[in-house]
Symmetry: C2
Subunit: 334 residues, 2 copies
């Protein structure tokens, strides 16, 4: 099938660009040094491709992602890198031996939830400067003792320096070092083999962890690429021009329900610039000299990969104009 | 089932508020004077409730919405109030007599697409000031003639004054009158019984149309309520506090994948204010004097109803603390 035969709106993955992104990361963070974050692509098809590159441990952000990964035979080492009090749905996965499941905990309540659900192993999640989940570094040892006292295996610590992903290059490394010092202070008190952290934006400056949690690097978006220049935009939304006006604008058949909008408008490449986005439309100003006709197909680049992918049921994988595969986005929801 | 037993994140509809919204609109725009827009709620369960109130014609924004409505027995009079070149999927619905389907057209290409798909009837979509779809008012008569010449029934015109929904109250009526004068100029050239337009934001000032296209009024959101004060927020996202920090913040288990973000951050009611939203988290500042503990449930109000609903598989319908129904969001995708 050719790309022009696809329905619109639909997600396109540029396979050569995707493969280059995966190879670049795998060279720097080979095998189990990388724990890819499935929240970025929500697809067991993508995860299988990464597993074939030697990455066998994965991060998940939701219970459903963990269940879906385990059900797809990708449960060798799944980390729910997020706090949850609703872990009972994971109990069958553990009891049936379908997955090795570790969950992040940062409080007595989340430790209790892991115990109640029969989750055998945890990481102590540490606040390393991003105001989100994670305990005070000084409290990590106490929580680890508490968890071990209740029969949990404590594999180590995790801490996400998400507030530093977009720091300028000349200050990023220093700030990451200081942030990871907090994590390693906690690790000294907690013990265990794992110090898990980082992301696509700090892949080249975070040398204080045993494993990197990165997901965006596979597909990338217009907002993130300036902060991780080794990786290319491999994701686009494929659209059709459904209307044009002699006053200088055109309209595409993809809108708020096809894009994550928290990082701003998507980018209409080649034919013009995005004016505004409605539920099922992008109105764009037709570029000087561009030829735009009703029925034309246009690639649009999202500004944020994760919440864009999660709006779609599948990704069409293209190599040039050839559609070579379909990857279902099968880990949506909660 | 009680609301505290529901999984999180999930969508909650406050049934008494929903019913009040529906009754308020039905009083002003009774029966077929209202053509509810299913894009706002994407649920045949909601549409059935509106049909029970006497509204038998509906607007759709996507081909899949039309197909789903027809399949659910709600095909009495479905308007695809949007341009599409991919109408062939509707052909079986027309041939099997499962629905009366009318589509919006604003160009020779979209008329051709309707003819090719065997769609029997169209509305001429007119540019009334919103830079999006719609032909020049002066071109509407020519397009109607072209459509009729190709065997299509032309039922009238539509024009959406979306650029005026948020005008201040003292100027809105005048601007809507001027905008609708363009639509009625086109209608004089086109003929037919239908002059379709408007939305929730102009429900009380647009008296120049035969039918109102409104959908948001059923559920509403924080951004829209100031512009249509007769309607209440009936939609919330139900979340759980998964982490708290002694530094003054808490974290909820709903994020970018649970909210439409184009109108800004959601509103964390009662316990604090939203600081920022991540893929699966809201970090909020805990309000002075508020008591927040891990495990607490918190209602969060979305800023934009349409792209919030479309991220969820179902809505839980609540009356007080009782869950009285579940409405599937069964019209997602394209």
């Amino acid at each position: 099938m050719q790309v022009h035969e696809l329905p619109t709106p639909s997600l396109l993955v540029d396979l050569p660009a995707f493969d280059r992104n995966v190879a670049t990361m795998a060279e720097a963070w080979p095998g189990d040094r990388l724990r890819p974050h499935v929240k970025a692509f929500k697809s067991t098809s993508v995860a299988k491709r990464l597993a074939a590159h030697g990455h066998h441990g994965f991060c998940c952000a939701t219970v459903r992602e963990v269940i879906g990964m385990a059900a797809a035979g990708l449960g060798a080492d799944l980390l729910l890198a997020n706090e949850s009090l609703d872990l009972a749905r994971l109990t069958p996965m553990v009891e049936e031996g379908r997955a090795r499941i570790t969950v992040a905990v940062d409080s007595e309540e989340t430790i209790d939830a892991a115990v109640r659900a029969g989750i055998p192993e945890v990481l102590i999640d540490v606040d390393v400067g991003l105001p989100r989940c994670g305990c005070d570094p000084a409290d990590a040892g106490r929580l680890a003792d508490l968890a071990r006292g209740q029969g949990l295996g404590v594999r180590g610590v995790m801490g996400y320096e998400g507030h530093l992903m977009r720091e300028p290059g000349d200050t990023k490394a220093d700030l990451v070092e200081r942030s990871m010092a907090l994590l390693n202070e906690a690790h000294a008190a907690v013990g265990g083999d794992i110090v898990s952290g980082g992301g696509t934006g700090t892949w080249d400056v975070n040398s204080w962890i045993t494993e990197l949690q990165a997901g965006s690097y596979c597909l990338m978006d217009t907002e993130y690429t300036p902060h991780a220049k080794a990786f290319e935009n491999a994701l686009a939304v494929w659209t059709t021009v459904i209307s044009t006006s002699a006053k200088g604008w055109g309209v595409l058949d993809a809108g708020l329900k096809a894009f994550g909008m928290d990082h701003g408008d998507p980018t209409v490449i080649e034919v013009g610039d995005c004016w505004f986005v409605s539920d099922e439309h992008i109105t764009f100003g037709i570029a000087e000299g561009a030829s735009v006709a009703v029925g034309d197909r246009v690639r649009v680049l999202p500004a944020h990969v994760d919440p864009t992918v999660s709006q779609h049921e599948r990704m069409y994988v293209v190599d040039g104009d050839e559609v070579v595969d379909v990857w279902n986005v099968d880990l949506r929801g909660w």
